[in-house]
Assembly symmetry: C2
Homo-oligomer: 201 residues x 2
Amino acid sequence: MSKSSSFLSKTEIMDAAEQTLRRFGPDKTSVTDVAKLLGVSHGTLYRHFPSKAALREAVTERWLEEQIVAPLEQIVKAPADNALAQLKVYIARLIELKLHYAEQDSEMFKMYTDVTMEAAELIEVHIQRIMEQMGILIDRGIQQKRIAQSAATSSLARSLFHATSRFHHPAHAHEWRSASIEQEFEQVWQLLEQGLTASIH
Amino acid sequence: MSKSSSFLSKTEIMDAAEQTLRRFGPDKTSVTDVAKLLGVSHGTLYRHFPSKAALREAVTERWLEEQIVAPLEQIVKAPADNALAQLKVYIARLIELKLHYAEQDSEMFKMYTDVTMEAAELIEVHIQRIMEQMGILIDRGIQQKRIAQSAATSSLARSLFHATSRFHHPAHAHEWRSASIEQEFEQVWQLLEQGLTASIH
């Protein structure tokens, strides 16, 4: 699969990087391994990604967009009579996706975990995407008079995201194996739902 | 400070272990280092603590009890007209204590973080202590008709603990430096407070 570096696209590099990461794991993968797989020089790769961290972040960013944000977008786009119930489905799906990747795609999940700890900016961009999606559902819920506008939409979205961190933040992945984790989410959600609807009842 | 092993108490061993941990850090401290400081043999220590992990867990357990649970007990014991406000003070203090130790006692905090990831049972016992304290405040709030009994007290306590994990769970320590962290807690608390009082208004 050797090819002229002039035709090397960022997508091709990221594909090769993802393949290499899955094979060797995020700690052992070097830029040289990726270059080898592409049949190009180390220097060629560095022209596109100035450091191993930059490459790792680009791969993580794409992974988050394709594997987390895209499936969630389906829920946001689906018409729903009850946007509050849809908001719970959205968060439950976010949790389910994280659990799925923690178990089924552990190398990529480990890389995402490392990047979460190290690249605050990239993760903040990802969280912004999630906030926007949740914001659409919250606004819909306010219009349907199922959610009380007790604070700005963005603030409600962020609070819901933070209050459910234990169930979707990768640092908690080792707690997700607990037998009571689903029940615990149900209980947290019940309290949050009461908070979201408080002024309506 | 060499002394006969027959007089060696668990407390003395833990004191020496804590001192050694602070000096060398949790990763580099060995049982031999602790034995050296006490002037006893390696074997003598193993009679009290069968592994390095056991010693580390005992030290962490004592640290959590003395540095976290004991100061929080002061809040629980103080008489208060508004147990809901007191509950917020309690959680804010829990957050403040964790932040303080993350910054001021980083070796012990690192050990506590490691143990949190590895010794689920010990941490569950600690969380039970926190749940009991929060439960007292919740029951007081229900009696004062400031908190709605929307679920069992223990379930409400656990949900509050989980919903605020981002602000006190050691895996999130690197996020606590954010300039907006206090405001974010305020917003999460507002939503939770609305949930706690929902059926009362």
